[in-house]
């Protein structure tokens, strides 16, 4: 407010544009129209900026042009050339954040969990590195707008199933088609590390058979990686699509995402990656808190699953899933928080928020779904935090986005493009409020 009073004139000049923008967000449509490239320079003033790198600016100015952040500063310190901005948004009392980044999702690959024809995330076969999530990513999914309107603007779309599920890509959640959506295409190969847990339950194989199967699967993987590495080292007489898809791993341009939870699985998966000299990321990592030295020594980050989970074992601390992020932070293991699934991803910020109730600071919790996720996914040069020169992918909320009680996103920008926050759900809400005459 204080700042606004200082420059009343310039503010009123810009008011019509602001109203226009607000009007846009008020129009609900079942399937929002993807936004056009940023045409006008935008300035958000006086909001509390949560930069995503652990820092905040209580009274901030954030300006962006052509999709890039050109100004991230303290309103009380920075001289602002307001003439540069055609749109000024009053952020007083509000909060600006980098767009949330969702790692490890099947968003756009799954529409209705129990209707098979709407599912595109599990290919048949066990070793499918060549299978690409990107080309199945359905930009027209009705689910995506409901996730986006909670601030998730970038997501890693990951295939599931088999041992090597396929290749993932990072996409933006506002696009006409998957080509538009592609943000970091084909950035990693996903390997479901064979479960080393021997189960006792009805219908389970005898334990010795289970063990044999595990060993067989690991040696199958080893054979495959060995041949793939050899293939990558020299031109082959015949092209092998599976091996082609593996090349990037050995060249260091792709990451190997190792889905593993149990301590021994993590150890054996990481050692496997080390054996082939590839960059590894653990996904899931329920027991990662037991292995922090090992993970640091091997420089392996972790994409944690939901904090909204039950402890995996009866004896574990009741709040272990809640405090898992804190345990890794405390030990200095790089990590991010994810929500596997698709529609559930809209609760990603709240999963991070819960971790803030159990040890993390709020800014650390935010980092775990922004900059730290960007680093693990290899997109931190352009995304993940509010820093000049990075892309203007950000959100403005009237309250704390980590807290469901206060999360209320008013604006979202991807690369400076203002995103329609409508969805089928908002539309149905409007329709029935109207029917009942509710406000």
């Amino acid at each position: 407010m204080k700042n606004l009073f200082k420059q009343p004139a310039s503010c009123s000049l810009l008011l019509p544009a602001a109203i226009l923008l607000l009007f846009c967000t008020a129009v609900f449509s079942q399937q929002p129209v993807p936004a056009k490239p940023q045409a006008k320079n935008i300035l958000i003033m006086n909001a509390t900026a949560h930069l995503g790198n652990g820092h905040t600016i209580e009274n901030s100015v954030i300006g962006f042009e052509n999709g890039k952040l050109i100004l991230v500063g303290d309103a009380t310190m920075v001289r602002i050339d307001k003439s540069k901005y055609e749109v000024v948004i009053n952020g007083y009392g509000k909060h600006v954040y980098p767009g949330i980044i969702a790692a490890n999702t099947i968003l756009g690959l799954s529409e209705i969990e129990l209707v098979r024809s709407t599912l595109d995330f599990t290919e048949t076969g066990t070793i499918n590195p060549d299978v690409r999530a990107l080309i199945a990513y359905n930009t027209d999914s009705k689910v995506i707008p409901t996730v986006r309107s909670n601030g998730v603007l970038l997501a890693q779309i990951v295939p599931q199933g088999g041992m090597i599920s396929g290749t993932s890509s990072v996409v933006t959640l506002d696009a006409w088609n998957w080509e538009d959506a592609a943000y970091f295409p084909d950035e990693g190969v996903h390997l479901n590390w064979p479960s080393l847990i021997i189960y006792r339950r009805q219908g389970a194989e005898a334990d010795d058979n289970q063990k044999e199967l595990i060993e067989k699967n690991i040696s199958r993987l080893r054979d495959f990686f060995t041949e793939a590495k050899a293939y990558a080292a020299a031109p082959a007489p015949a092209e092998n699509l599976r091996f082609e898809a593996m090349k990037g791993l050995f060249a260091g341009t792709k990451k190997l995402y190792l889905h593993a939870g149990y301590a021994k699985e993590i150890i054996s998966a990481v050692n496997f990656a080390k054996e082939f000299g590839v960059q590894a990321v653990i996904v899931g990592g329920r027991d990662s808190w037991m292995l922090t030295d090992f993970l640091k020594e091997n420089k392996v980050p972790v994409i944690l699953g939901r904090t909204h989970a039950l402890p995996g074992r009866e004896d574990e601390d009741t709040d272990l899933p809640y405090k898992l992020p804190f345990l890794l932070r405390q030990a200095g293991v790089p990590f991010c928080v994810s929500v596997d699934g698709y529609w559930q991803v809209r609760n990603l910020a709240f999963n991070a928020g819960t971790a803030a109730g159990y040890g993390l600071s709020k800014e650390e919790a935010l980092m775990s779904v922004t900059l730290d996720a960007a680093k693990i996914l290899g997109i931190d040069k352009t995304a993940g935090s509010l820093e000049e020169g990075k892309e203007a992918t950000l959100i403005l909320s009237s309250g704390d986005i980590l807290n469901m009680e206060s999360c209320n996103i008013e604006y979202a920008f991807i690369n400076g493009r203002q995103i329609d926050l409508g969805s089928i759900q908002a539309e149905l809400y409007r329709k029935y409020k109207e029917r009942y005459g509710l406000k």
Partner: protein, 1045 residues
Amino acid sequence: MRVREVRGAVNNYNPYLHTEISYFRFPVLILMQIPRISFLLLLLPAAVSISFAQQTFPVNGVHDERHTVFAFVNATIAVDYKTITDSASMTVRDGIILEAGRSISIPPGAVVIDLKGKYIYPSFIDLYSDYGMPEVKKPVPPADGSPQLLSGTRGAYGWNQAIKPETDAINLFTADPKKADELRKLGFGTVMTHYKDGIARGTAVLAALSDEKENTSVMKDRAAACYSFDKGSSAQEYPSSLMGVIALIRQTHLDAQWYKGNAGKEEYNISLDAWNKNAVLPQVFETGDKLSALRAAKIGKEFGVKYIIKGAGDEYQRLAELQAAGNSFIIPLSFPAPYDVEDPYDALQVPLGDMKHWEMAPLNPAAMEKARIPFALTAADLKDKKDFLKNIRKAIENGLSEQQALRALTVTPAEMLNLSGTIGSLKNGMTASFIITSGKIFDADNVILENWVQGKRYSAAGLDAPELRGSYELQVKNLPLLKLRAAGDFLNPSFFAGEDTAKNPVTFSRMGNLISLQFEIKKSSFSGQVRLSGYIEKDGLWKGEGETGAGEKISWTARRTAPYIPVAKKDTARKEKDIAGTLSFPNKAFGWKEIPPQETVLIKNATVWTNEKEGVLRNSDVLVSGGKIKMIGPGLEASPEYKSGGYALTAKVIDGTGLHLTPGIIDEHSHIAISRGVNEGTQAVTSEVRIGDVVNSDDINIYRQLAGGVTTSHLLHGSANPIGGQTQLIKLRWGFSPEKMKFEDADGFIKFALGENVKQANWGDKNVIRFPQTRMGVEQVYMDAFTRAREYRMAWDKYNSLSGKGRNPSPRKDLELEALSEILAGKRFITCHSYVQSEINMLMHVADSFGFRVNTFTHILEGYKVAGKLKQHGAAASTFSDWWAYKYEVMEAIPYNGAILHNMGIVTGFNSDDAEMGRRLNQEAAKAVKYGNVPEEEALKFVTLNPAVMLHVDDRVGSIRKGKDADLVLWSHDPLSVYARVLKTFVDGRVFFDSDKDAIAREEIRREKARIIRKMIEAKKNGEKTQKPLFIPDDLYHCETLGQP
């Protein structure tokens, strides 16, 4: 009635028998030569057919009828478990004890067996055997993969394949000499055996473990009737859950009663007929754990049956409740093996509860004894039957009295079958089934020498088995004097040669008194192989010839120089005095050693969310006493009521400054704390099943929910069928028994379900035959069910209005229709799983047409589309905050649903249907603020007061009001905040979750696990068999969980 002549001296029978072991210092003369023969008429119960000749069978060759009298003299005889006499004798003829005791007469012509230093005990009785029974088959479901809806048994039997009381084990019984020999060597002489298949398993047969023709070894047909909670080989769909099994047993009891009163008039039913005939027999019920034992006891109580419960060995964990139930038990000795826990990560898979049970299971028999619960012991469930005696000794080391152990193997099982006059003791006229042992029966180095079954001798170790053990001097011609040592097992000792005896093993074998030894010598004077053959000249002196490795003939002599002194190698891992671990309730991680007491507590200066017209009170106090909320308001300590109530003296004060106090969270839709199956979805209508029968008080999720502020959970049947089972409202009194968790006097509810689940839309292409398969069919299921229920009620009303002869026959009492007619009468209330508007609308129409109201629609994700109709009908809505997209029928679910329903004036709540979400329902409530701007106080009511209203318990819980139950949660922040943590959860004024105590408990769990792991590793080192730690996934139930995973 059979009359038999038996010779014996009756006038001086049992002169010295005492109730304790008595050792007389003067020699007692056995007057073998006195020809004082008198005649005794002995009456035998007709039921016990102890025949000594197969009279109806032809004989191939010369008849060989014998009536030899065997006289066992100079023995210590346990005439029964408490009457043990030394220097006693016993005479036996024709399979019957003539006499046992001191100064008994030995008839001339008797075969006299001198048992000086040896012992005679009644042989053991095992009531829970499958000896001589055919193997139980695996269920064979229909080959096409479709569900088997009807019984696969053809004929005039009952409707359910798992109810087979018509099975008589006598018809299946064939003696099994190999198994009989194995059991005899453990001391058993008599077993009750039955075909362990099905829920009602028919009758058991009592058989002697002889090698005689079955006609002789069968001692009693139909000795008992047997039951279980396991449907065995039945592939029929119903029942798929434990609660279904219980309902089936209850209904069969009722059907049998009805059948008795209407025999043959309505139908002929072999199974019900047999059920009734079996009712006069001892009733044996097999259970899988202590909670199921309580369940069996409860069924028995309802129908006037005191089941003899075959337990699982974990009874010590719920002893008080079992004691109160008053049943007798058959207890296994299958103590769990220690786990391989050397690898710390592998050890993670073994929960503390399993570790504790490993440590404490050997205490179970002693605990039962201490609680004065009558029990017999069984070798059933032992993987290796050879562990039987070893495990009894373990139980004795852990506090079981020897007398009780012997009773549990002899007289108690005999009493259970009302046969204590025939078996289990060695009194005049009783069956001559006994064992001869080298020492006291439960001593570690005791050896069972012979086992006599029905008067027939069976050798175990053999009466003449020589003592081989000891230290010997071996003199081999031309060789230096050698040392020889034999140690270990009496029958199969290990032999070593030389000074450093452990290093030079000797191969030894014996046949009768012929022996052979082979070993190697490495000495300066001689080096090479030695092979000896010889014989036992007498105890401690062996002689013979042999050969060296060079082929040189040699002669040898071995003389015992010192007797064998057994090294007392006890099971150090699991003795009572070593057990630092204590029983907790439940006996696992986070269990209570002591249940938290109801204390007087003053919570001061907190922000109190009352849910009453007072709203949120800042800086307010709340006083709790006797489990109730007593006072609310600022500065209570200064108030006259506080002072006059004497609270100042007793109240524990909690500083609530900066903290928030709310009513406990109530989850209207939960599936935690349920044993073995949440769905009995095998039929469209299963209103007869009750979640209340299968509450699992051990579920760790109870504690986890408490840690999330939940105090009351409504446990629902799943949503697999249109009319599911009766629900159970519980308070999360962690540590209490299932019955004590139940919310007292709460109205009965029942789960209904609509949509994709009930029409089996997502169950694959095989499940297309159970009606209904469409929403059209669902309506008809309801119309049909309520039409039948109405007619049923009318039939009973008519019957009840009649008197005398007109009342015969009575209508059949039908548990399914009983529950439905309760709905019609407004005494039972519906909570209905529902998604789309059409079906919600439909059910309200059905209800209207039958004149009742649907109390609650649960899930009701399209409730916002029919809000007006809901309001008009008067239904409440218990929905999810933001779930959607997981199936077709939820594609128009919106997170604003709760807000719209609330704003339309409908009692609205958020539920979990999920153990994870259940423990952070406060966060879910906060989503009503986010999606639809519901005021915070109202949003909190979505998970507190509103569900209380729906469940008709708002007079007790749901708000903070004077006089209400002290079910409270103390939070670190505003309860709707994502940052809020639960500090304390009160139920009835007891602090069932306390974050400080929780922190201590975590440390204790770590220490306790470490301690038991040390012991397990020690046990393994001591040679105990181990088991691999295998991961058992939690049984987490949701609406759609089928079967018993």
